[in-house]
């Protein structure tokens, strides 16, 4: 329940600008409308009441004037259209007129009237009379009611028009913004296509889209120069590496080499080899970044693994590792064959290199799933880092590019890659679906 409220709340908070605006507008308009209606109602009512009272005073005034002229009070009974009552009383009680409000329920019409009554006492010919004049205000109030209805309806219509205009204006005015949002969403530096500012005359949007466009251009430029640098670097470094390698090999041919010199040369050769492998890995990663693998074919994972394991048997045997293979179901995956080989190879390399002597490796293939488990040391740091470039717990053992490549390949094909460590066993799961 709480989560329901939360989700509704979230929904409200994360609404589109246009709906937010409409809701705020509507709520405020309705509130103002009601407040206006109420104040208008009371204002009119008050005014009508006042006028009624004034009217009653006026009638009294006219009456008093005529009485002074000597018109017989009895004649008023027929003169005034309003309900007039004249009764004889013993002494003057209301020397000043008073106003009374009277509610009348007329049963046959099922209507409710409010009336105002003015009561005053007069003396004529030595006799005291109490005059009360009654005036209903319902007639006038009806007018107020219809006025109110007109105002209410017109305001309601206005509200609807307001909402409609809002929606239209928003979609029209904000269409360049939505266009821009869409462009930003679809933007990828790898496409090398900058964001073209959508056509708009709204000043803020012009500035916004121009800035976004500039930013995208800058990103592409930066990305391209970094990419170019890596590509040039990896390519241009290869020839000098080849020179070093051949020179070292030539030195090694020297028969008068001392043991120390031999070790120095061997270390140099190893370092060059390492550089070469880093280079190879980086080239692969940048090729994946550039989406340069576009010849997918259907691959039978079971068969591929059996083939690739063959290359590792020497290494597995050397470390006296027990290998278990479980092929439960056939697993077919559509991907580039060279990438599939690299994927499987890197996982095997990883499982062998980070294994104990006489450790274990278990390979499991199910439909759409490949799991490789191996015994190994407890990870020192967060396991999320395993898929980062150049992350290696033991720099001597590996370059730390292997799993980054695995991650990149799985990302390339939208496979899910999971790693976990439990009870001394590392397991990497790839879900191909």
């Amino acid at each position: 329940m709480a989560s329901d409220i939360n989700s509704v709340f979230n929904y409200l908070i994360n609404m589109k600008l246009v709906y937010k605006n409409i809701i705020i507008n509507t709520v405020v308009s309705v509130l103002i409308l009601f407040a206006g209606e109420f104040s208008l109602y009371f204002f009119l009512k008050n005014k009508i009441e006042k006028e009624t009272v004034e009217h009653l005073y006026l009638e009294r005034y006219i009456m008093m004037k005529q009485l002074k002229k000597g018109v017989n009070i009895e004649s008023f009974r027929h003169n005034i259209g309003d309900v007039l009552e004249i009764e004889t009383i013993s002494s003057v009680f209301y020397s000043k007129p008073i106003i009374q409000e009277i509610e009348v329920d007329e049963e046959w019409e099922e209507e409710h009237f409010t009336s105002k009554k003015i009561i005053f006492d007069v003396i004529q010919n030595g006799r005291t009379y109490r005059v009360s004049i009654l005036k209903t205000i319902d007639e006038d109030e009806g007018l107020a009611g219809s006025m109110e209805a007109i105002i209410f309806i017109s305001t309601f219509c206005m509200l609807i028009i307001l909402v409609a205009i809002n929606v239209l204006v928003y979609y029209k005015l904000f269409s360049p913004v939505y266009q821009l949002i869409n462009d930003i969403k679809n933007f990828s530096v790898q496409n090398l296509k900058k964001i073209v500012p959508p056509k708009t005359t709204t000043q803020e949007f012009v500035i916004l889209s121009q800035e976004v466009s500039k930013m995208s251009e800058k990103m592409i430029k930066d990305y391209s120069s970094v990419k170019e640098f890596i590509e040039n670097m990896t390519h241009e470094i290869q020839t000098p590496l080849a020179v070093i390698n051949t020179k070292v090999e030539r030195c090694m041919q020297d028969e008068n080499l001392t043991n120390d010199q031999a070790i120095l040369l061997s270390d140099t050769s190893k370092a060059v080899n390492k550089l070469f492998n880093i280079n190879k890995g980086l080239t692969l990663l940048s090729k994946l970044d550039n989406k340069q693998y576009n010849s997918p074919e259907e691959i039978q994972i079971n068969k591929l693994i059996q083939q690739r394991i063959h290359y590792f048997l020497d290494f597995i045997e050397n470390k006296k590792i027990t290998l278990n293979e479980n092929y439960f179901e056939e697993c077919y995956v559509t991907m580039d064959i060279s990438l599939a080989e690299i994927l499987v190879d890197n996982l095997f390399k990883n499982a062998i290199q980070h294994n104990f002597e006489a450790g274990k490796i278990e390979v499991t293939v199910k439909k759409n799933e490949f799991v490789i488990r191996n015994t190994g040391e407890i990870p020192i740091e967060s396991t999320d880092k395993f898929f980062n470039r150049f992350y290696s717990q033991n720099a001597y053992k590996s370059l730390g590019l292997g799993l980054a490549i695995v991650k990149k390949i799985t990302d390339y094909y939208n496979f899910t890659l999971n790693y976990n460590f439990e009870l001394g066993v590392h397991s990497v799961t790839i879900n191909f679906k």
Binding site: E236, T246, K247, R250, A262, S266, D345, K397, L399
Partner: protein, 224 residues
């Protein structure tokens, strides 16, 4: 046997030429496309080592030129470019092999020898060293007229040793050549050691001289 090295990196071309000259080849160097064309017109080559990126031209065009002129030399591409497409393009144009920079000289030599053997000793492709004879098409090793059974890796090792006889071979080169793709796995050294040990045992068991000598810190040397 004449070999032409077409490579614009002077240092590298010189090293390659020197190494191969030591192994009794006549090596010529061309540092650009034009030089290569001139030399091809003048000298009869058995093997061409071609870099794809030349300052004044493309190695692929050079291969096409060679094929057009019906020059029967074997062609090995030496390139820093690892792209599959480039390799396919080069092989389609008529190259026989493709070696990615940086390479081991011993690897280059082994491939060069294999290519020359294929081209010039058709049908009778036999490698001999002392009392050891390897029949390449049959994958047979004969020592003192008796067949010797070797594992696949031992066979490849022996072939690599003989191709580079007299030269010091690094463990990296061996692991690259025999364990092809997994040279970046550090367990290689022990594995190489085990395989070399087994190979020596088998060869000596068959009455062969112990040709394999280990070179401290570096690797091995095959020869007397």
């Amino acid at each position: 046997m004449n070999i032409l090295v077409v490579e614009d990196e002077i240092d590298l071309s010189k090293e390659v030429a020197d190494y191969l000259s030591d192994l009794n080849y006549n090596c010529y160097i061309a540092n650009n496309y034009q030089e290569a064309l001139n030399m091809l017109d003048e000298v009869d080559f058995s093997l061409l080592l071609i870099d794809l990126k030349l300052p004044d031209g493309n190695g692929i065009d050079l291969i096409k030129y060679i094929k057009k002129k019906k020059i029967s030399a074997g062609i090995i591409i030496l390139s820093a470019n690892n792209e599959l497409d480039t390799r396919i393009e080069a092989l389609d144009a008529g190259a026989d092999d493709f070696l990615i920079k940086p390479f081991h000289l011993s690897e280059l030599n082994a491939r060069a020898k294999a290519l020359i053997r294929r081209n010039f000793h058709k049908g009778n492709n036999i490698v001999e060293y002392g009392e050891i004879k390897i029949d390449i098409p049959k994958l047979e090793v004969i020592v003192n007229e008796k067949q010797l059974l070797l594992t696949g890796k031992e066979y490849e090792l022996l072939l690599y040793f003989i191709a580079n006889a007299g030269k010091v071979i690094t463990k990296e080169a061996i692991s690259y050549s025999v364990w092809s793709h997994h040279s970046d796995m550090d367990v290689s050294n022990e594995i190489i050691y085990t395989h070399v040990k087994n190979l020596r045992k088998k060869l000596m068991g068959a009455g062969s001289t112990d040709y394999v000598k280990s070179v401290y810190g570096i690797g091995y040397k095959f020869g007397i």
